[in-house]
Amino acid sequence: MTVLAYPLATRRDTKRLAGQLARVLAGGDLVVLDGPLGSGKTFLTRALCRALGLGQAIPVTSPTFTLLHELETVPRVAHADLYRLRDAVDVRALGLDAQRDEGRLLVVEWGSPYVTVLGGDALIVELVMEPARAARIHATGNRSGSVLAELAAASGVG
């Protein structure tokens, strides 16, 4: 399995990664963000939304309590957070797979246990804090695999 690794020493590094992701992702794709509290999942989502054209004045806040935010990017981003959810039944009740069917780019924090319920074929971005901040990215399906290949080609990281 191919895993791309990006060191994220600074916020600028994260923004650069977000910019590269923005160029290869499309509506209907699923990005799952994984990593401990404070590892930068919401920050990466915000940077991705900015790279997808969201104005600086519009806040991209944590959906932990509100569960799902929709953002007016191109394509539209549905930003979900499953931190508070208990099991796949709850995740299914949110109907997030339908967001993809409707053409939104679905970005899900704390989503890695639920990739199947989210419609499968995920680009999984694992954010680690130790020994240094970094992103490790892999794919679980055909579409996400080609996104990963494009990302690798664009950034020369492997």
């Binding site: 509290l37 404070g38 920050f43 509100t66």
Partner: protein, 405 residues
């Protein structure tokens, strides 16, 4: 569509039968809160009520809890039922939300029946119905809105949709019969709303949506969320706020250095994500503290940073807007240090800090009923055109002027 709508005349008086005897012994109303007496009416002692004010039923399904309340137009709470407070302690350390429509659908009818019976009124006594229409998940909001539509149609009374955040901002006017409340503020005032899902500061010129403007909001995490997540990082229980508040009481906030979120003094925006990350970094560098003085110091350092940020920005907003009153709203307003510090700093600038009782601060349907009563009193009616929206309708003031979020 059919589930939220009474099926014909038989349901018009739906709560009446159970209302006289039910007493809220409904299945889902096991953890509810209630009040018994009726300050908004005069009991003649003969079971006959002389109504002194308009009665409004409020329905709330925007977030984690299903709620219903009966409130008079002057803010007296006749009943306030929430299907549960801290219901399920999930393994991750938090409340499991009532997801989308499923649980709200199960709870909404018994909760409304409980609210009506505890207020000792029937649907026919109501002058109008108010329901949370935004912000929130559409599936959850729709449960309340559909039921409210059906009830309003069945009794032929007006229906209004309200913004959940407006509810929080007007909750300071609620009067519970058994709880002392501070003297109500007089607009214009500034309000700090800090909860698990929202953190923002507002200018309130009146109780209508159009007269409330956001001055600044969090750019990332809400204050209550920061408390819960830091409690989780430190291996403490849920909810994080009261536990950290308690531990911080015996800690030295200066013993551990944590960077202050959004220290720029001229900005009214908040940021708590960086502070949370700083605690995470501290824990990964030093290990998670045991139940010792280090833990208390870390809690004190964290809480003091949060409180100082909230208070300094709220007081700054009040001074900038040249108002004499600052209202604290939302669940985080229960924090002891926040109350004390706000009162202290406010007093230094001649600003009166108004803190509603705790049950008015947390999510409740009484505030929704009251926010609706304000609209109903002005003759407004959303029947036939009530829609749900995921985002708040409160206008934001930015450096570039006013605009929608």
């Amino acid at each position: 569509m059919g589930w939220g709508r009474p099926n014909g005349a038989a349901d018009v008086g739906w709560p009446t039968g159970g209302g006289q005897t039910g007493g809220g012994q409904t299945g889902a109303a096991n953890g509810d809160r209630t009040v018994g007496s009726e300050p908004g009416s005069v009991d003649t002692g003969m079971g006959c009520r002389m109504r002194s004010a308009m009665l409004v039923l409020g329905i709330e399904t925007s977030c984690d809890e299903t709620g219903a309340a009966v409130v008079t137009e002057d803010g007296h709470v006749l009943s306030d039922v929430v299907q549960s407070q801290i219901k399920i302690h999930a393994p991750y350390g938090g409340v499991v939300p009532e997801l989308a429509s499923r649980d709200h659908m199960k709870n909404v009818r018994p909760v409304i029946e409980g609210a009506l019976s505890r207020a000792r009124v029937t649907l026919r006594d109501l002058d109008g119905i108010s329901v949370t229409a935004r912000p929130g998940l559409s599936g959850a909001l729709l449960v309340g809105v559909q039921v409210a539509r059906g009830l309003a149609w069945s009794i032929g009374r007006p229906l209004v949709g309200v913004d959940h955040l407006v509810g929080h901002l007007v909750a300071v006017y609620l009067r519970h019969p058994d709880i002392a409340a501070p003297a109500p503020p007089h607009p214009p005032f500034v309000a700090l709303l800090a909860s698990g899902g929202h953190t923002a500061v507002y200018r309130v010129d009146g109780l209508e949506l159009s007269r409330i403007t956001e001055l600044g909001a969090t750019r990332d995490d809400a204050a209550g969320e920061a408390f819960d997540k830091v409690a989780k990082l430190l291996g403490l229980g849920y909810p994080g706020g009261p536990i950290i508040d308690q531990l911080a009481r015996e800690g030295d906030p200066r013993a551990i250095e944590l960077a202050l979120p959004m220290p720029r003094r001229d900005s009214l925006e908040f940021s708590f994500s960086g502070l949370k990350s700083n605690v995470a970094r501290w824990v990964s560098a030093n290990g998670r503290p045991g139940n010792d003085q280090t833990l208390r110091n870390l809690c004190a350092a964290f809480q003091t940073r949060v409180v100082d940020t909230l208070v300094s920005k709220a007081v700054r907003a009040a001074r900038r807007e040249k108002v004499q009153e600052l209202v604290l709203a939302g669940g985080v307003a229960a924090n002891r240090q926040l109350r004390e510090r706000a009162a202290e700093v406010g007093a230094g600038h001649g600003i009166r800090v108004v803190v509603p009782p705790f049950r008015s601060c947390t999510d409740n349907a009484a505030m929704i009923a009251y926010a609706g009563a304000v609209r109903l009193a002005q003759g407004e009616d959303d029947r036939g055109r009530l829609e749900t929206h995921p985002r708040t309708a409160l206008l934001r003031v930015t450096r570039k002027g006013r605009g929608r979020r």
